[in-house]
Every structure is written in structure tokens, then in C-alpha cells.
Symmetry: C2
DNA sequence: GTGAAAGCGCTAACAT
DNA sequence: ATGTTAGCGCTTTCAC
């Protein structure tokens, strides 16, 4: 059996209260007894029981991490990296991460994850877009909530976000400075704030450099910005416009799809047409030519979120602070000066 | 404040014991009081506290999942998929997964993950190769342990494994049946049982089809079978042998490296040389030509491990059962008949 | 500076 | 069929 506080007390010839005080290294404890107790703890290899402690402290030492199932299953390791980041930072803060997925069509009749109902988390990190009914339900609970890469109810909840506007500008500027003027934008799910911001960045750069926006250069797919939709978007785009020399894709997944379309149709990348993505989730030499992109600091989003969470838990506060992380332009081989 | 069992008891006009019995739907409870209690539970939205329950039941409802940090950080989503699989299956079994990483150079002076010390897990899943000192330390504990994709101390511990020998045979046979005879094997970290088995499969097929093994066709790198080593192995291989027509790479990562070498040196794939990998972690159209490979059922490894774990926990047993999962040959465009 | 004791929310053996 | 009660291992007043 595992040693308990009683065993330690017995071995050190003190009361369990004293052991507890030593464990929390309370001031008013004589060095002498402190040593005795520490010694016993060492010898018995004593560690306080998580459950017992949680019961009296009314906390759990766990942080929930929620994703929709389709985000979790995505082939690009975007949310996985955010999770990894928060996992590492949790480690630093003596916290554990309880990951769970919810249905992407979660509705008000669905049950919340058990760790919420059973008070087994001290805070919740929500990564990516989640259904509104979910947000509505958890809002009744009293633990801190942090959104990552998505920020609904911004006045109410904290969020760790990426500067998508800046990214859109960087990508577009890179193309403009490389001599391109007929620059298309392809995207999907335009209601998603991140995507919308990327498009806004694109528009900003056009304005800044005095280029005229042209609706026929902007191709938005209805739903999810994935490969297939990237292929479709490129198809529609090139059917309408023969003279495009560059594409800014709202993410890497669509960019890969668009590249496939170009390859299938004899459009050389980057000679006939440059393309730049967003996210940096395609491992660099896995595709040809290597995709230029805007790097999103995924791990860092996770660590920042968990840092913020640890801080909120430790100080028992909830706020709506936002952390905005900068992005980087990564120039590889899919974009070229003309 | 969250409702407790007392609140329910008060509301339903029964004792807390009765509430507990209803929660566990014990037989000898009249339908009448059952309804009363259930009603109160519903109204108060009562859920038993995880900590309190854990304290008396001496369990946690959590399963630990351990990976070395470098495995977790690998770009190929191999272990991530195993984790996802176990996460989904945990969900089915009302369990939570506590993921943590350990140093890949864990030694006997390192501390074990807190969830072990604090008895916050009911069982442990270990994915991939972990340092021996770690195994040694956890062996003192009394919870069930399952290894995934690695099976040290096989007489003692359960394991979920993949049929690497069969995979090696399938890959090699595919090449032989496509008319190849000068078939090379490239690998790394040959002490790893999985890699060794893949090589054994290669040898088996040679024997089965009456081909002579040739040491100069087998190129083993000292350490980790990653892209860089794949590149190096290919370089050495082609420097020694000009007439190779096919390569079986011990995994996809090395295959991608080897493909890069071939591209850099004007060796056309698959016209000059076919290549097949192992794992199926390169998303299918991300690389050209699409890589033929042996698919390893990664998610399934995770679900199987968790199924086994849930079973062991439920029935309070530990055994050394093994689950061997079959692999599939996936023919894409990097292999060709000659 | 240290100990006694109450209590966190629950389960389960024992009473009734 | 239901209630009483003794813990589970810990923290935290409050005495001494």
C-alpha cells in the first residue's frame, strides 16, 4: 500500500498536522522537526494523494482542453501542436491536461464533458472554433476559460490569438514586392474570424500599394478550407482568369489543393504562378515546390494559453485578456519574383 | 456552489446512503424513492465529485499515457494518432487520458511523472520505445501497464503491436512480384524490435522467392531512422551499387529522405528505381510521386490499447496479453513493375 | 512550534 | 427497503 500522511507522522513521531505543515513548508516549524519529517517522507517515498487533496482544496490540478472531433482528426497537425505546447507548459506549472473532443455539431441537448460536470478541472482551454451551444452551456460554470485561435464573446473570455491581419498583409506584400499585381485570394468558411482577417490583410496590402481590388480575383468556397476546396477554388479561379500570376491561399491545406490543380493543368509553380499559404503545417520538403507560407507559432499558442491559465488559477481570477502572437513570413520555393 | 449528495438527499427527503444507492442503481430500492431521488438529481444537476469518489474508491478514472518527448515532437503524426485512438476509446469507457512526456534520456535519478506518484492514474499506457530505467522504476507500482508499438519484458507486460514481419514480407513481396530482384533495404536503429522485424520480413521474402541476400544491398544507419538518415543511406547505397531497381525503406521518413537523394541525383522514381516505405504517415498527395507503403493502423493501436486497459481496470487484473494488429500494403506511385 | 479535531463528498458495511 | 456511521487522506482552524 502507498504511504499516507499518517505513516509519515508515525515514523517522524509528530502529528499529521505537522506533516502537512512541513509539506507546505509553513514558516513556524522548527528546523529540527522539519528535518525529521522530511526524512520520513523521503524514506517512505511519500506523495500526497491527488484525490484527497483535491477533495479538501476543491480543485483538481487539471486543465481541460477541448477540441471538436473534426479538428482533432485533421491531417494537418495544427491543433495537435497547440495541444503539445499546452501540455509542455502544464508540466512546468504542475498541471495536467485532460483532453477531450466534442461533436462539431454539439447542441444544447448534448451533455458536457464529464470532467466539467464532475468538477475535475480547474480551468478550460478551448482550441479552434466550437459550436455556440457549447459556449452557452459552459458559461454557467465558474472556472476560467481561455479560447485559442478563436475568440467568441471577446468581452467576456480570454483568448490567445494570432495576428491574422498582419499575416495576410505580409503574404500579400511579399507577392506585391515580388512584382505581382494579378494576385488572387482563395479561402473558405469566410465567417471564421481568422479567415476573414487574412482576407482583410490581403485587402489592406492592396490598398497600401495602390492596387485595385478585383472581386473576380477572390474565390471563396462555402465550407471548410481543405484540400478539395483548394482544388475547386483554383479551378474556378483559372477558368475565370487566365492571367493570374500569384495566389494567396487562406491556409496551407487549400494551397496544397490548388497546387494539385495547377500541376494537373500544366501551370508551372512558381514560373507560371506563385502561391503562398498560411499556417506552415506542410512539412517543408514534403511537397514540391516547397510552399512559401505564413508561419503560425502553434506550440507557442499552446504554451501562452497554459501560462495564462496557470496564472488565472493560481490567483483565482478570470479575465478577458488577449494575447496576440505575431506571425512570420516564410519564403520557400513556391513564390518567385517576376 | 455545486450540489453535493447532501443537497440531493435533502431535496428528496432521504438519506445520503439512499442517494448513493440510486446513483449506483442498486437493486433493492423501491421504484418510488428511486424516482424521487432521480428527480432531485435532475433538478439540481447533480454529479458526484470526482475527487471524493476517487478518495474512497482509491481510483482516479484516469489512464496515464507516456511518450518520450522526441517521439511526441516528431513531425510525422505516428504517436499522435495512437494517442488520438486511445483518447476516443477512453471516452467510450468513461476514462480520461493524462498525457505526459518523459525525457528520452530518462535515468534512474529522474522523478517519475507526478500522476504516478500521486496515484492519479489507474493504469499506464506507454507508447514507443522508452528508456529502460523508466520501465524499471514503474515496475514497482501496481497498476496495469500496456506497451504500444514496443514490447520490452514481454513475459510481464501486455502489448499492442503491429505485425512488422508481415509488413516487411508484404513490401518485399510486392517488389519481387513486380519483377524486381536488386532490392535494397534501408533502415536505422536496428536494435529496435520493430525495425529488426521489418528487416526480417525482407529476408523472409527473399528466401521464399529464392533470391540471394546480399549485404551490400542492406544499408543500416546507426541512429534514428529519420529523413536525413534516409538521404545518407541512399547516398551510400547508390555509391556502392549502380544497379538497384527498388528500395524497401524501414519507414516513410527515411523513404522521403531517400527520395530526396534520388531527385537530387537524377534518379527517376519509379522509372529508374521504385521505393516503398512503412507506416503510412506521409499524407498521400503531399509528396511526388505518392509513396507506396505499408499502412500501420495507428488509431486502432490506440483504441486497442485502451480497450485492453479498460478491461484490465474493470476486472482488476494485470496480464501480459499481446494484441497483434495486421498491416496493409498500400500501392501508390513510387513502385512500378519492370 | 505543535497537536487535536472538524470536515471536504462520497462509499459501503452494518443496523434497523 | 432505507438510514446510520465509519472511514478514505488531506487541509486548516483553533487550542495549548
Amino acid at each position: 500500500m502507498n504511504p499516507t500522511i499518517k505513516d509519515v507522522a508515525k515514523m517522524a513521531n509528530v502529528s499529521i498536522a505537522t506533516v502537512s505543515l512541513v509539506v507546505h513548508n509553513h514558516k513556524r516549524i522548527s528546523q529540527e522537526t522539519k528535518d525529521k519529517v522530511l526524512n520520513a517522507i523521503e524514506q517512505l517515498n511519500y506523495h500526497p494523494s491527488h484525490s484527497a487533496r483535491g477533495l479538501v482544496r476543491r480543485n483538481s490540478g487539471n486543465v481541460g482542453f477541448v477540441l471538436t472531433d473534426d479538428h482533432f482528426l485533421r491531417t494537418e497537425p495544427f491543433y495537435t501542436h497547440i495541444f503539445i505546447g499546452s501540455e509542455f507548459e502544464a508540466h512546468e506549472n504542475e498541471l495536467y491536461v485532460l483532453l477531450t473532443t466534442i461533436n462539431s455539431d454539439f447542441n444544447s441537448s448534448n451533455k458536457l464533458p464529464r470532467f466539467i460536470l464532475e468538477r475535475n478541472i480547474d480551468g478550460l482551454i478551448i482550441a479552434g472554433k466550437v459550436p455556440f451551444p457549447f459556449i452557452e452551456q459552459i458559461s454557467k460554470y465558474n472556472f476560467p476559460i481561455i479560447f485559442v485561435d478563436y475568440s467568441p464573446c471577446a468581452k467576456k473570455y480570454s483568448g490567445v490569438l494570432v495576428d491574422n491581419i498582419q499575416g495576410g498583409e505580409l503574404a500579400t506584400e511579399h507577392l506585391i514586392k515580388s512584382g505581382h499585381e494579378r494576385i488572387a485570394f482563395i479561402g473558405g468558411d469566410i465567417e471564421h474570424p481568422s479567415i476573414k482577417d487574412r482576407l482583410n490583410g490581403y485587402k489592406n496590402s492592396f490598398e497600401k500599394f495602390g492596387l485595385k481590388l478585383n472581386d473576380s480575383l477572390i474565390e471563396i468556397e462555402e465550407d471548410y478550407p481543405g484540400r478539395t476546396n483548394g482544388y475547386n477554388a483554383a479551378e474556378r479561379l483559372f477558368t475565370k482568369n487566365k492571367d493570374i500570376t500569384a495566389i494567396f491561399s487562406c491556409n496551407d491545406a487549400m494551397a496544397v489543393g490548388a497546387m494539385q490543380y495547377m500541376k494537373d493543368n500544366g501551370i508551372k509553380i512558381p514560373d507560371d504562378c506563385s502561391i503562398i499559404g498560411f499556417d506552415d503545417v506542410v512539412s517543408d520538403n514534403a511537397i514540391e515546390p516547397a510552399l512559401s507560407t505564413i508561419r503560425v507559432p502553434k506550440m507557442e499558442m499552446g504554451t501562452e494559453a497554459m501560462k495564462l491559465m496557470a496564472h488565472m488559477i493560481k490567483n483565482n481570477l478570470k479575465d478577458n485578456r488577449k494575447v496576440l502572437l505575431p506571425v512570420d513570413l516564410i519564403i520557400r520555393e513556391s513564390t518567385k519574383r517576376i
